[in-house]
């Protein structure tokens, strides 16, 4: 049972200090990942997985089944279609 970090991660460090199991790993290049054996999904320590509760980036943390815990739009409040439209508009400039 373990959560995982995707390439959406922006290496902001927020998750590392709040993990009760010291399961967040930082590579020498500063890339973040979760140690699969160390991660307890915060079971017994907290009601919610801590890393996923502080992470500011949608889609950066996946649950054990591989689904994003914070899906698009859930943290920023920006509707995904709006973000897409803004991206296209900027790309077209």
């Amino acid at each position: 049972m373990s959560l995982s970090i995707t390439s959406e991660c922006i290496n902001c460090w927020a998750c590392a200090p709040v993990c009760p199991s010291t399961a967040i790993l930082v590579s020498p290049e500063g890339l973040f990942s979760i140690g699969a054996t160390a991660c307890t999904e915060c079971d017994g320590a907290h009601a919610d997985p801590q890393c996923a509760s502080i992470c500011p980036v949608e889609g950066a943390i996946l649950d054990a089944a591989g689904a994003p815990i914070n899906p698009p739009g859930s943290l920023t409040g920006i509707p995904p279609e709006k973000l897409q439209a803004a991206r296209e508009e900027i790309a077209a400039r």
Binding site: I10, C12, T76, I90
Partner: protein, 497 residues
């Protein structure tokens, strides 16, 4: 450091009657002596000091515990002093090394701030370790930090123990309903808490932190981001409350929101305030409160005088190769600081004598005030070419006083042959940015921009190179009166609101 109390009764009829007015040099006049002493050399808090002293920020604190709608954690935050996670993150030891390197190369550097890239108090160990190292090695450097306030109450004692004498809290609201429009969530007590509920906790922590700092005699500045239609009307209330609780400065900054920043406000098309919206709100908020108008919203790794950033000279790579004789540097620092103080004192005496010998009766009372833009690269002098200016300092001149209104950033008109092709558009932006000014004072102006400035009704003045800014502004205002430019009273007054 005696800062003479300005004689407010001198303010003539028709002049500004707000108690926040003094000359710019003396915006701090009504503060208690102890506070004036603390801010005298602080570029961010003393408008006059900011011409002479430099500050630096070190990016040691990456994590954040809240989300603001004007921030995208991935990129440089345009609103708060935050360089974004991609910029160079330093360990406390590296940060200390960088500070000592800068302290010896730029002896005018008197202030070290930790402002991010996340929230310093969401990374308390990294932040405090950095401060401890600096306090031990370079005790002449003042320490300050900026925070969103969420973890402030828990850290106040540590802040006090480390002699951090300035704290900035970003307070955008005191009403959770307004807060819900600014902060989508906070991380608190091991949970993500959304909406008004989260905002309510954040507001409570900010206010409690503010009170606790004031109790301990630590200077508190409050920053607010002005978001039209969200908190603009509400900020007067914020200003009143934080002032009552003892904040010594309130700094209202304009929201910066562009779609390419990927922030909620940027993508959703939230508009930013115009320069005159901002000025009107700052005037409304001022009352007895010191409003800070020279803030540049600098990055969390900025180095140098306000308005300049020499960060690129001090990347970790370069610092590794620098030889630093810190003892010699401390001696040099002392000399430079003494020199600056001597110059400031001299200039002050000169100004006072000038005021005594040339009574202000020379200026006909009752003339309307005028806004003038100045190009300066520091030391309080008119010493920047129009074409090189990255920002203009805006002054309001009236028969009674010369008042600093703020700095406005512009793209440099000409940054050398390479980019001169962009000159046209850059000049348009400058003309637009300065559209409410009646004159621009710089060390030099080219023929082309001169003509265009004149055509736009902004008179260029090039004959005050190397003069102290306030003297130049006063002289230009005198010229304007003489030439009869200020005779129509209505136009400007309605604009100055």
């Amino acid at each position: 450091m005696e800062l003479p109390i300005l004689n407010r009764e001198q303010t003539p009829a028709g002049g500004c009657s707000k108690s926040a007015c003094g000359t710019t040099t003396d915006q701090m006049t009504h503060l208690p002596e102890a506070i004036r002493e603390k801010v005298h050399n602080h570029p961010c808090y003393s408008e006059e000091a900011h011409h002479h002293y430099a500050r630096m920020h070190v990016a040691v604190a990456p994590a954040c515990n809240i989300q603001c709608h004007y921030c995208n954690r991935k990129y440089d935050c345009a609103n708060e002093s935050r360089p974004g996670v991609v910029s160079e993150l330093l360990s406390p030891t590296q940060a200390a090394k960088k500070v000592l390197a800068v302290a010896s190369q730029i002896p005018q550097m008197t202030v070290l701030g930790v402002a991010g890239p996340g929230d310093p108090l969401a990374n308390p160990e990294r932040t405090f370790e950095t401060f401890e190292e600096i306090a031990a090695k370079a005790p002449d450097i003042k320490l300050c930090l900026s925070t969103n306030g969420l973890n402030l109450p828990d850290n106040v004692d540590r802040i006090a123990a480390l002699n951090v004498d300035h704290v900035t809290i970003t307070i955008n609201c005191v009403d959770p309903e307004v807060g819900a429009e600014i902060y989508p969530w906070i991380f608190w007590n091991n949970r993500r808490i959304r909406g008004a509920k989260g905002a309510k906790i954040l507001i409570r922590q900010q206010q409690k932190g503010l009170e606790m700092l004031v109790e301990r005699g630590i200077l508190v500045k409050v920053n607010s981001v002005m978001i039209p239609g969200v908190n603009d009307a509400h900020l007067k209330e914020v200003s009143k409350i934080v002032k009552q609780k003892g904040a010594f400065l309130h700094n209202v900054m304009p929201l910066i929101a562009e779609a390419e920043h990927g922030t909620f406000y940027g993508v959703m098309g939230q508009r930013s305030p115009t320069a005159s919206d901002l000025q009107a709100l700052q005037d409304d908020c001022s009352g007895d409160m010191n409003m800070m108008r020279h803030c540049r919203q600098c990055r969390a790794d900025a180095v140098g005088l306000l308005g300049e950033d020499r960060g690129q000279e001090f990347t970790m790579d370069k610092i590794e190769h620098m030889e630093i004789d810190f003892e010699a540097a401390m001696v040099k620092r002392k000399q430079v600081h003494d020199g600056i103080e001597a110059m400031r004192a001299e200039r002050k005496t000169a100004q006072e004598t000038a005021q005594e010998t040339a009574p202000e009766a020379i200026l006909p009372q009752g003339c309307r005030p005028a806004l003038l833009a100045v190009a300066s690269k520091g030391s309080g002098l008119v010493n920047e070419h129009f074409g090189h200016a990255r920002e203009f300092l805006i002054y309001e001149a009236s028969p009674a006083e010369v008042r600093f209104m703020g700095a406005r950033k512009v793209p440099a008109y000409c940054t050398g042959a390479m980019e001169c092709g962009d000159g046209e558009t850059a000049l348009d932006v400058i003309l637009d940015t300065l559209s409410d000014c009646e004159g621009v004072i710089s060390a030099k102006v080219g023929i082309d921009p001169w003509a265009q400035l004149e055509a736009a009704g902004i008179q260029p003045y090039g004959e005050y190179a190397m003069e102290p800014i306030e003297d130049a502004v006063r002289a230009v205002y005198g010229e304007m009166i003489k030439s009869g430019r200020l005779e129509s009273t209505d136009a400007m007054i309605s604009q100055a609101g």
